[in-house]
Amino acid sequence: MNIPQDLKYTKTHEWVKIEGNKATIGITDFAQHEITDVVHVELPENGKNVKKAQPTAVIESVKSAFDIYSPLTGKITAVNEEALGDPGLINQDPYGKGFLFTVEFSDNNELSDLLSAEDYKQLI
């Protein structure tokens, strides 16, 4: 199972890539494997304010629909338009072309709740 060392993780299987005050978010390789083939994605609107641990996006596979929680509080600054048209990207490249959205986060304290690659590996 691919768990990149340079990313942070959540218990609900999102990965977080921190760059300055922005965080890019997607689902982990483990999550895409469990969810199975993604057939539909709903993403938040650009500019929307989101709260930590609140359902922010929805991923649907032939198995079921899954809520995706924002790991951080802040404002959406980008969403993956390409994945809307080609949801298979989330399975093929979960840490790259299959990212979901980017949040400009407002509370640095929340970063300490994120898991390291090692912690996430333990979890799964």
Binding site: D37, V62, S64
Partner: protein, 474 residues
């Protein structure tokens, strides 16, 4: 595979004739007149008849084989229901005819409302909602009307993750924010966790009892007390009422609002989109908000009363899906109170019999006892998943159980045998499921992964169908 009617079509055959020379008084402006051919398929009458007969023979139905679809209560639908539902006095009635000319129909509706009150412990019912989730929606609008009337602002609904999937959707549709509540491994509620989210802005909690893992909520009386002390109402999802009739009544357990799926517990044919019927029931303090018209009895006559100032309004045209209402009434009258109690006893016995046969071999996340249904978490050899097992069951002539629901169970397979199946039917199914998981998955895994092979079409590419659906012929 049966060809589509369009594929059977040929220009030199026709089973219909359209009289284009018909004279009418209506003058249609030239620019609105159809210029092209109607495009209807042409087939010889005999080919047409064979086409539909062949299609009907591919139907899988309760009347052809076992249907252990968890959460859906696919029980035998007594044929006497169908016979009575065909009476002209019922199926030729028109909703616009005056109430005095359909006293019998209104008497049945009034009688069924009273019977549902008796079974559920509620004080009043409206038969109008068209199905379960529609009943939930109506119930939530009633809850909203109640808080508006007492001038309290509450905008949240708590829904445990062991509830039915429609609950959060209904809450969102009714304008509420859904607060998910993580349940315990057997799907039950932890009172302390509930208290953490039970704030003053929570309008109601929606519970399915027994829950989707088939487990009765043991703390229900305490949950009810804690919620009511907070001014929060309790909503009962009646989808699993088949487990409780004659043993426990939601009204007695503290529930304020509920719906009943007549098409499940009270035996009318369902599946494939309906029709269903989801009557919404309330305690007396909420009766004023029920949908209109209400069926009332005045001076020994039944009337339809539309004049209720506090009502949430109509949630469906006319009085609901009457043919389903009628079947439920016949079912209740045929079985009587003792009969209904026996239904639940047998449904629970059948499910426990099956669970007892599986529990030592297959993981059972909710433990070794259940109510009317149970959930397995099969871990077969060679990477065989629940989906593969379900597909392989089709090869043996079974309808597959519900799979991947509830979401809280890994590789879930949810089985509800209902009370109307014999021990022999259950034994045969148990034998086949064991064979697939413990023999075929081990010795012939590819056979299971390639299933089904005995069905009219082989395994469909569900991913491709969802990503790139072909929605029309040509």
């Amino acid at each position: 595979m049966e060809k589509l009617l369009n594929e059977l079509s040929s220009e030199c055959k026709a089973a219909y004739e359209i009289n284009c020379d018909m004279e009418t008084d209506v003058s249609i402006p030239d620019h609105l007149k159809r210029k092209s051919d109607l495009g209807l398929p042409n087939a010889a009458e005999n080919d047409l008849l064979r086409h539909f007969t062949n299609l009907s023979r591919k139907n899988y139905a309760l009347s052809t084989a076992f249907y252990p679809l968890g959460s859906c209560t696919m029980k035998y639908n007594p044929l006497i229901n169908e016979r009575i539902a065909k009476f002209e006095s019922f199926n030729m009635a028109h909703p616009y005819q005056p109430a005095e000319t359909m006293q019998g129909i209104l008497e049945i509706m009034h009688g069924l409302e009273r019977d549902l009150c008796e079974v559920s412990g509620m004080d009043a019912f409206s038969l109008q909602p068209a199905a379960g989730a529609h009943g939930e929606f109506a119930g939530l609008l009633i809850i909203a009307a109640h808080f508006k009337a007492i001038k309290e602002k509450r905008h949240k609904i708590i829904v445990p993750d062991s509830a039915h999937g429609t609950n959060p959707a209904s809450a969102a549709f009714a304008g509420y924010e859904t607060i998910p509540l993580k349940s315990e491994p057997d799907g039950s509620i932890d009172i302390e966790k509930l208290k953490e989210v039970l704030t003053k802005d929570v309008a109601a909690i929606m519970l399915t009892v027994p829950n989707t893992l088939g487990v009765f909520e043991k703390e229900i009386v305490e949950i009810s007390k804690v919620c009511h002390e907070n001014g929060t109402l309790l909503y009962y999802d009646g989808a699993n009422l088949n487990a409780l009739m004659g043993f426990a009544r939601p009204g007695d357990l503290g529930f304020d609002v509920m719906h009943i799926n007549l098409h499940k517990t009270f035996s009318s044919p369902h599946g494939g989109g309906g029709p269903g019927s989801g009557p919404v029931g309330v305690k007396s303090f909420l009766e004023q908000f029920l949908p209109v018209p209400r069926v009332e009895k005045k001076d020994e006559k039944y009337v339809l009363n539309y004049k209720k100032s506090k009502t949430i309004g109509s949630v469906k045209a006319f009085m609901g899906n009457f043919p389903v209402i009628l079947r439920a009434y016949i079912y209740i009258k045929a079985l009587g109170g003792d009969g209904l109690k026996n239904v639940s006893a047998q449904a629970v016995l059948n499910a426990n019999y099956m669970l007892a046969k599986f529990k030592d071999k297959i993981a059972v996340p909710a433990g070794g006892r259940c109510m009317h249904e149970f959930v397995l978490s099969p871990k077969a050899a060679n990477g065989i998943r629940t989906l593969d097992i379900a597909k392989r069951l089709l090869d043996y002539g079974y309808y597959a159980p519900t799979v991947y629901f509830p979401l809280i169970v890994e590789e879930a397979m949810m089985i509800e045998p209902t009370e109307t199946e014999s021990k022999e039917t259950l034994d045969k199914f148990i034998e086949i499921l064991n064979k697939i998981i413990f023999e075929e998955a081990v010795n012939e895994p590819q056979k299971v992964k390639d299933a089904p092979v005995n069905t009219p079409v082989a395994r469909l590419n569900e991913v491709e169908a969802a990503r790139k659906p072909t929605l029309k012929w040509k």
